[in-house]
């Protein structure tokens, strides 16, 4: 019981501190400190509840056990990370996003195709991955290629749709200006429409980061070599090594957040001019 009360007490204290911090001026350190404090609170509450309520370790291990496991299993975690994230997710992400942007540019020239492809595309994007993943594993084999294929299938349409929306973001006056210069299609594309589309494209790219990692992991549930984050998670659940499962989940969350953060940083660099990046 004291564990539970201690955890709740910590929560209250941390929240009060955060409320106080929020009143301070916005600085970089604060921007990191506050979520860190919040995350620490989550971990403390978790630890306290698991210990206080005597939750069996085969159901939910406490963060301390997970931390210990991470420390002792770094080589395995690293190998899994390379297999799933670097080989599967990243390559699929690059291919899928690239194909999405290029297809959008191609489709953009034909309103006919746009009207036809978008609804059909939305329909195809609605096919749940749990269904498509086994099929793609069957088609592309067990190694990372099939994981990349799943990622491509997942990220392609969000990027396509966002890019298309972005390509129509340049307003009529800006386009008319290009017309008065008698600019060629390529000039208008590179000097006006792509820059104007960037905020939208990045929207798609950011959504795609979380999809990519999830896609690569989920695909491993349906067949894989004997390494990879998804493989490890599903195998270790069966072995009741829940600390290892959560260690992998922690790596996934960390990698996913870092990936998201990296893309968001690129976004800030490229679309510094957009009101949403200037504000606050």
């Amino acid at each position: 019981m004291s564990w539970v009360l201690g955890a709740l007490g910590f929560w209250a204290a941390a929240w009060a501190l955060n409320v106080r911090l929020a009143r301070l001026r916005n600085t970089r350190t604060l921007g990191l400190l506050m979520p860190a404090l919040f995350g620490l609170t989550l971990l403390v509450v978790w630890e306290g509840l698991v210990r206080g309520l005597n939750v069996p370790g085969v159901i939910l291990p406490p963060p301390s056990a997970i931390g210990a496991r991470i420390a002792t299993s770094l080589p395995v975690l690293w190998a899994d990370f390379v297999q799933t994230f670097v080989k599967g997710a990243l390559s699929g992400y690059v291919l899928g996003c690239g194909a999405g942007v290029l297809s959008a540019i191609a489709i953009d020239r034909s309103p006919f195709l746009q009207r036809g492809l978008l609804p059909v595309g939305n329909f195809i994007a609605a096919l749940p991955i749990v269904g498509t993943a086994p099929i793609l594993v069957m088609w592309f084999g067990f190694d990372w290629q099939s994981k990349a294929a799943v990622v491509v299938a997942m990220v392609f349409f969000p990027v396509l749709v966002n890019t298309l929306q972005g390509l129509s973001a340049a307003d009529a006056m800006q386009r008319d200006l290009m017309k008065t210069y008698s600019a060629s299609y390529l000039q208008t594309l590179t000097k006006l429409r792509l820059p104007a589309a960037m905020p939208f494209i990045f929207n798609g790219l950011k959504i795609a980061t979380t999809l990519a990692l999830i896609g690569a992991i989920v695909a491993e549930f349906f067949g894989s070599p004997i390494r990879g984050m998804g493989f490890r998670i599903s195998t270790e659940v069966g072995r009741l090594a829940l600390d290892m499962v959560w260690a992998e989940i922690a790596v996934a969350a960390l990698a996913g957040s870092a990936f998201y953060g990296a893309v968001a940083a690129c976004e800030r660099a490229v679309t510094f001019w957009h009101p949403s990046q200037r504000g606050l």
Partner: protein, 307 residues
């Protein structure tokens, strides 16, 4: 009536015919039991369910049950309706595999999720590394079906005599084109589909009494199923809520399952247990269990149930 929840290891199919028969034919009612059968599936670890209090009794393979016990989950085998193992490795003849000596360099499909232990023990027996090193085999995590063999992504895959093997046959490959290695024949068979409960249950006489009645009724169901395979298969089909099973496949499965349950009256044969534990302990550098298990099985329930 007393309530009992049974967690299966896999989806509803003739592999668990005895329990469905007992339910359907009223054997549980006769024992004043109200039994709920929870189907399993690829994502369900029965030992996790039982640890979370989601079931009273579970069906599991002994290797993973013992591994879980070593992890600190105190589960105990109370009955063993399956006498023999149905596991085997099935290869396409055209790949040229003729005996275990041919394995090195090959790609083998293996079930994980706690089902990899028998395979790993076998390979350890043979001295074949599975970690991708020189002179070893390439291991694939096999999905839920036999596609890797049909698509020739693996030279051999894991199959059960009563299920996946027949899926390969149904896919149009003739038995002559296949070569199979039964774990029983290789001397590395481990016990499958035993009934397990948490240790604490055995300290409570009322609970033990409930389990005794449960095992008695279940074994009655099994014997009925062995005697009436076709009807048993139809009972299983009636309980399949996915609507995905076919009559032909279930009847055939029942026939094969009957061969595996045939030698058991429900009580665990200590010799089978000994062989299983020895196999698991002898796992080379990375054995499935590291210590001789203590108190991992009991005859308390079966003794009361069968006499």
């Amino acid at each position: 009536a007393d309530e009992v929840t049974l967690q299966l290891k896999w989806v509803t199919q003739a592999q668990f015919a005895g329990y469905y028969v007992a339910l359907d034919k009223g054997f549980y009612d006769e024992e004043d039991l109200d039994v709920t059968i929870k189907p399993g599936g690829p994502d369900i670890a029965p030992s996790q369910v039982i640890a979370g209090g989601g079931a009273d009794v579970m069906i599991d393979w002994m290797p993973s049950a013992l591994a879980a016990r070593e992890k600190g989950l105190p589960i105990v085998n109370i009955a063993q309706p399956y006498k023999s193992s149905g596991m085997m490795l099935t290869c396409l003849k055209e790949t040229g595999v003729e005996s275990p000596e041919d394995f090195p360099g090959r790609t083998l499909g293996v079930w994980f999720f706690g089902n990899e232990y028998p395979f790993l023990s076998w390979m350890a027996h043979l001295g074949i590394p599975t970690d991708g090193s020189e002179g070893g085999v390439t291991v694939l995590k096999q999905g839920f079906n036999v596609d890797p063999l049909l698509q020739k992504q693996a030279d051999c895959i894991s199959t059960m005599t009563y299920n996946e093997y027949w899926q390969v046959i149904d896919a149009g490959i003739a038995p002559e084109e296949l070569i199979t290695f039964k774990y029983e024949d290789q001397g590395v068979a481990t016990l499958e589909d035993g009934l397990y409960v948490l240790e604490e249950k055995l300290d409570d006489p009322a609970e033990v009494d409930k389990l005794v009645r449960f095992v008695r009724a279940s074994m009655k169901g099994w014997k009925w199923a062995e005697a009436n395979p076709e009807e048993a298969a139809m009972i299983v089909l009636d309980h399949d809520e996915t609507g995905a099973q076919t009559e032909k496949h279930q009847i055939r499965m029942m026939g094969e399952v009957a061969k595996l349950t045939a030698g058991s009256n429900g009580a665990l044969d200590p010799e089978d247990y000994r062989r299983t534990v020895d196999t698991l302990l002898a796992g080379g550098s990375d054995p499935v269990i590291t210590r001789e298990p203590e108190g991992a099985w009991t005859h308390v329930v079966t003794d009361a149930a069968l006499h």
